[in-house]
Symmetry: C2
Subunit: 106 residues, 2 copies
DNA sequence: TTAATAGTTCACAAATATATAAACTAATAA
DNA sequence: TTATTAGTTTATATATTTGTGAACTATTAA
C-alpha cells in the first residue's frame, strides 16, 4: 500500500485556499504586507473570525506574521501562493466563459 | 459593500483540490486520460466514494469525462490545474525544508 | 430476456469547518 | 497602577464534507 502522507500534507495547503474569505485575503495581500486592522477593514469580518482564518493560514504555511508594537502584520510567505491562486482564477474564468457559450444558444 | 461572488466561485475551484484523494487523482491524471477502473485500482477506494469525488471534480470544472461503452474516462480539463497543483506542492516542500532547518538545531 | 459489468445515486453517520460572542492576553499610554 | 487598543482563545451552535453500503441505471453479452 502506497504512503499517502504527501497527499494529506498537500491537501492541507490547498485547504488553506478553500474558503471565500481566505481567497479574498490572498488577493489583497497579493504583493504587500498589511496589518490585521487593514485586512479587517477591507474584508469587513469580525476580528475573532478573521483571527481564526489568519491563524489557519499561518499554520498551514501560506502566510507569515510579525508583531510590531500593538500591530500584527501579515504577508504571503511566497509569491508562489499568489501565482497558484491566479492560475485557479484563470481556470474559473475559462469555465465561466465555456458555460456562457453553452447557454447563449438557448 | 463589495461583491464577493468571485471569491465564492474561486474558492469552489480550490475546494476541488482540498482533499487528499482528490490531490492524488490530479497527480495520477497529470498528463493522461484514465478510466474509472484504473483510477480506482491506483487509489484503492470504494467505487461509490470515488464516483462522488470524481463527480465533484467534474462539476467544479477541473475534470472532464466521456463515456465509451461501459467505461468512463476522466482527464484534467486544463494543464493549468496540474501546474497550480505543482506550485502548491513546491510551497509544501519549501515549508517542510524550513521546519527541518528549525528542528535540526535541537 | 436474463445476466454481468461499470458506474451512479441515495441515506445515513461521523468528522471537519465556520461564524459568533464572550473571556482572555499583550503592549502601550495616562 | 489603571485604562486602552489590538488581537487571540475558547465555547458553542450550525453547516459542510466525508466514507460506507445498499439500491439503482446504463451498456454489453449470452
Amino acid at each position: 500500500m502506497k504512503d499517502k502522507t504527501i497527499y494529506i500534507l498537500h491537501s492541507n495547503i490547498c485547504k488553506a485556499l478553500a474558503n471565500p474569505l481566505r481567497i479574498e485575503i490572498i488577493d489583497i495581500l497579493n504583493d504587500k504586507e498589511l496589518t490585521f486592522r487593514e485586512i479587517q477593514e477591507i474584508t469587513g469580518v469580525l476580528k475573532s473570525n478573521l483571527s481564526q482564518h489568519l491563524s489557519l493560514m499561518v499554520s498551514s504555511g501560506i502566510l507569515s506574521q510579525r508583531k510590531e508594537g500593538l500591530n500584527m502584520y501579515f504577508k504571503l510567505t511566497t509569491e508562489k501562493i499568489a501565482v497558484a491562486c491566479r492560475m485557479m482564477r484563470e481556470v474559473l474564468i475559462e469555465n465561466l466563459k465555456k458555460n456562457h457559450e453553452l447557454i447563449k444558444d438557448y
